[in-house]
Symmetry: C2
């Protein structure tokens, strides 16, 4: 396990396959060394793919290791992110990292060679490790590369065999086939063994091939340890004629007789003594340096540069007159179409563009509009690919169906991706379609996404403004919109800073504050009118920014009125109510508080009926306000009953 | 649109196809009438499938409409749930509902004929409407029916063509093929038109067939309006030889010349005058009654009846000695294996059973153990199918990867399914594997699931007890477990009622309460020890029940100590901290409060390093406690910064 001693030799496109094999052995040795030194990791999953990667990086991967952002350069996505020791061994072979970094920092805290690859490494586009995602990201990058960047770059994805049971892989290959992404190659490392035993298809490479072909891709079956055959396969794959899936029959633990094709060695580093024997069996240490093919010197279409010239000043947002009835989803769609004036903006639909109003963007900017069909995971994967290539994607579907892509959204945050997501048809407000179509969990999901921004406009003016704001937000931003049309509340001069709120009713005598967003804001306004008619002043806050939330204004309202009613068209957990509580706690206020939220299973009905049945309508808001203001006891409907109250249910 | 006048005739297996066609036309007429009377709904999506369903229900669906729970009876899942008018027209034709209910309650509030079918109707097994799920549910039901119930029942799924772009459909067909589910039939209604335009494959039924075959199913292509051909196809499909996908080329809006095969009519009821013309074109009103094939009079294996005889008394839970080091995931696995003594318990794995310890159940009860491979959506769909058949499933994978199945979990709640879900490897605690494997959003996700129970044990004794408790909980219950081994805190006499908590440290002089669960409880205990050494008493609460939460004990602790530190290995949104705030608000207490949670992007490292870097370790807990107890200002780390503080980020 000592450092390499042999002098450096260079391996490249001109090297013969014997030299490429030496490189493959070096990648194996370094995979073993790195994981053994770290005391954890997946060496055997790298050993199976080392030959594939050695051929790829010497002869096919057109990459500039010192210029990883080169838009003409190929991309490599390690969908089997647990094979990170192999990837990092490749980085070392390319001279991108040193042996010291590999041997002393892998999987250690505060270092970039993490257990699974993340874009903290400049040669990694996307974080992987949640299996089944890399193929989708590769498709997204290939789309952005070919259709937006107009780049000759190709995308290579190394995919495990076990992860092909994830449906997302087939969403991705379906998209690859449909878009005829001839710049896309997936290499499936069919090493037959998963984490706990044989994979479902073991070495049935014929079935893999039939599936890939049925989904519109060219399939090439190959012995993944026959370097000449692999080289021929990759040559064909890179011919630019069709999206290709290379199905490589391999042996897990290949080259190491003590573990090769043996169950029980998944995710286990070799013990020190075994590693020593293994390295000897693999031919000992080498110090080969790869100098693979360079990216073509080809023009690519630049992404519109960020900066004053590209700012929303040049975008003509739609304007709405106060009082006019407009759905926030419609205002979102119109604003998105207007934002299309910025050429870095792209829009993605999951076959509901006529409901979400993204269709308007598609009509005006068809070259930057991606139809993902009913495949929310791939829609988000496409968006990630666009973001990797410098574009600013807006991905939209019903709020309820975004839950389908939760894992992709979570991983996009780990990748530090910037994208805007819009969920339409939120809450019971949608009416007759019933609970399957009602997004009543989306705020909890999107608030919990790392570094996210969560916005929830109540009228068309703020919806348009916040849509535009999302085009300049970093990270994952979410806009929640509503199906029905409601009165425009704000004139077009109004601004809506992220983290702010609007106070729509306010007197010096306010005895309660009503907090709403989206449809419940309109219910709060109606409740305030009803209360005013009874002689009771209520403050009304439009909490259009749910994360970050306007703690200052909430605190002032709590102090000045002493009572808060929060009404939200969402389950009580993780939504607006809890965001408000988090903002107020520890600030020395202790207001009376009522949290109205959707606690039961909604059914079909009119919006009014369903808001009322859920207990979030104007009637319930006014009732809660009266109760709080009269100082009559505790919270009328809290998000969690005490154990005693819930005794029957548990 | 008046009520039917013609006298009732019966259509059944002996009827000729002309009569079956009359039934199909009646189903069409009623689909149109129901949706027009409701003013919303999807008539055209039903018109395409009416012939398929007419043949199915008269000649192939072995069903007892007056005994929908009959375990020998076939199942019918409407994956294209938006075609509910067709389904309800079938219910009417079967005599299960009356014309009056169809015409006056469809999509109305407070009634059971909702916009998309839910099990509020006794003939509906699972709620649909989130496309791409029905095939998976059908597979799960077919598995449970064949392998657990030992029933001759068959499962028929009506699936839209547009929804086959969902990867979950291919997870499901992969499972159907792998399990050789010869009792499973999916009918794909290839009507060529989606919501906003043509589907990706339009009428390319050959590609559908190739895909189905590549995934191990028999494919039968048929003209979906040729009743004789459909009848032959369904006869073959029901021959019990192979899982079958019938690919039916159909016309959306079939039978209605004004809308047939026309884009722009998705999800739109026909206007009154058009409906009148349409009904005339379809041959007017009929009143046919279907008397289809009866279920075979076959024995099925009964699910172990609930009741005293089947209660955990007969289950020998594992016992642990206080002080012993055991991972909660290991205790969960051992308890689950023990629960296998109850024959209604089944366990499901997504190819990580050796990490989650579900493998132990599989070894002891292989006949009730389902290996779903790396396909979390199908794992949950399988679990739903088991629950539909009366079993109590435990579905387990890493907490992080449960996000993949969020939409299935959401819909399972709409279906009022009872199932237990366990997420292992929660939080940054897992260490070197890095953020892709860390569940730090799962509490937010699972708390927001309708009617869920969320449990989070800190030691092996409570983990085993809560695992057992889940076997008797209704609805969706979630157990969050931890990767590492920690000291056993409780002796085996201890009980852990759902909605309770444990107070592990308590004196009359407590100046702060430390609230933790899982790994952070151990950090709280260490912090309390450190504080005690400094002369400061801290109360320590084990909040093993996150939903429902023990509001009473929290309230008392807040009152008595005046300060709370909540530490959780989860993002700050939607987790333990906000559950605590929701429990305390409006109760007249206003404690000093510190919320320690994972706010940044973790990396690899040791557990100690990562807890510390995330700010949730003993050091940070003790520091926060000192600060609160000294009355020194507000919350040191709130979940939401004020807008001013976050100005740079937005």
């Amino acid at each position: 396990m000592t450092a390499p001693l042999t002098p450096t030799r260079t391996v490249g496109p001109g090297s013969d396959l014997a030299e490429v094999f030496e490189l493959a052995q070096q990648l194996r040795v370094d995979s073993v060394r790195a994981s053994t030194s770290a005391g954890s990791g997946h060496p055997t999953s790298g050993l199976s793919a080392a030959d594939l990667m050695a051929v790829l990086m010497t002869r096919h991967l057109r990459y500039a290791w010192d210029d990883p952002g080169n838009p003409a350069a190929d991309h490599l996505v390690f969908s089997k992110g647990h094979a990170s020791p192999l990837l990092y061994a490749m980085f070392k072979a390319a001279g991108a990292i040193g042996d010291d970094e590999l041997m002393t920092t892998y999987r250690r805290h505060g270092h970039r060679l993490q257990g699974h690859p993340t874009p903290e490494l400049p040669w990694v586009d996307v974080a992987t490790g949640s299996l089944g995602q890399g193929v989708g990201y590769g498709v997204g990058i290939a789309l952005a590369t070919r259709d937006l960047r107009k780049s000759p770059a190709r995308v290579w994805v190394l995919c495990g065999d076990g992860e092909t049971t994830e449906g997302s892989v087939w969403e991705a290959l379906d998209a690859a086939g449909r878009h005829r992404l001839a710049n896309f190659v997936a290499l499936i490392d069919v090493n037959r063994l998963g984490q706990r035993g044989p994979t479902a298809l073991e070495w049935d490479t014929e079935t893999y091939a039939r599936r890939a072909e049925a989904f519109g891709c060219r399939a090439i079956r190959v012995d993944g340890h026959d370097l000449a055959a692999v080289d021929r396969a990759l040559t064909t794959a890179a011919d630019g004629l069709a999206p290709t899936v290379v199905i490589a029959r391999t042996v897990k633990g290949r080259g190491v007789s003590e573990v090769a094709d043996k169950n029980g060695w998944h995710g286990k580093p070799l013990p020190e003594d075994m590693a020593e024997r293994t390295i000897a069996e693999l031919g000992g240490l080498r110090d080969l340096r790869v100098s693979g093919p360079a990216p073509p010197d080809a023009p690519t279409r630049p992404v519109r540069p960020a900066g004053p010239g590209g700012r929303p000043g040049t975008v003509r947002l739609p304007r709405y007159e106060p009082g006019e009835s407009v759905a926030t989803r419609a205002a979102f769609g119109a604003a998105l179409a207007a934002l299309g004036a910025r050429t870095e903006i792209v829009a993605l639909d999951a076959e509901v563009g006529n409901s979400t109003h993204t269709e308007e963007f598609g009509e005006e900017h068809p070259d930057r509009y991606v139809q993902a069909y009913i495949a929310e995971q791939q829609m988000i994967a496409d968006a990630v690919g666009m973001a990797v290539c410098g574009y600013h994607p807006f991905a939209t579907t019903f709020a309820a169906f975004l839950t389908r892509a939760h894992d992709f959204l979570r991983m996009a945050a780990v990748s530090r991706i910037t994208m805007a997501v819009c969920g339409t048809h939120s809450g019971v407000e949608i009416g007759a379609d019933g609970p399957s179509q009602m997004g009543v969990e989306d705020l909890a999901m999107m608030r919990a996404v790392l570094g996210s921004t969560v916005l929830y406009p109540s009228d068309a003016t703020s919806a348009a403004a916040l849509t535009a704001a999302m085009a300049d937000l970093d990270g994952i931003s979410y806009l929640r919109t509503t199906r029905g049309a409601y009165p425009v509340l704000y004139g077009h001069g109004e601004t809506f800073p992220v983290g702010g709120s609007k106070t729509l009713r306010r007197t010096d005598d306010d005895r309660v504050t009503l907090v709403g967003a989206g449809v419940t804001l309109h219910e709060c306004l109606a409740a305030a009118d009803a209360l005013a008619a009874e002689g009771m002043s209520a403050r009304v806050l439009d909490l259009y920014s749910v994360k970050p939330v306007d703690g200052g204004t909430l605190l002032r309202a709590a102090r000045e009125t002493g009572a808060l009613v929060v009404a939200e068209d969402h389950h009580p957990e993780g939504g607006i109510g809890e965001a408000v509580l988090s903002a107020l706690v520890g600030k020395g206020v202790c207001p009376a508080f009522a949290h109205l939220a959707v606690t039961g299973l909604p059914d079909s009905g009119t919006t009014g009926e369903l808001l009322d049945a859920a207990g979030v309508s104007r009637t319930h808001i006014a009732r809660a306000a009266r109760r709080l203001a009269s100082g009559n006891g505790p919270t009328p409907r809290s998000t969690q009953a005490s154990p005693t109250e819930q005794g029957d249910e548990s």
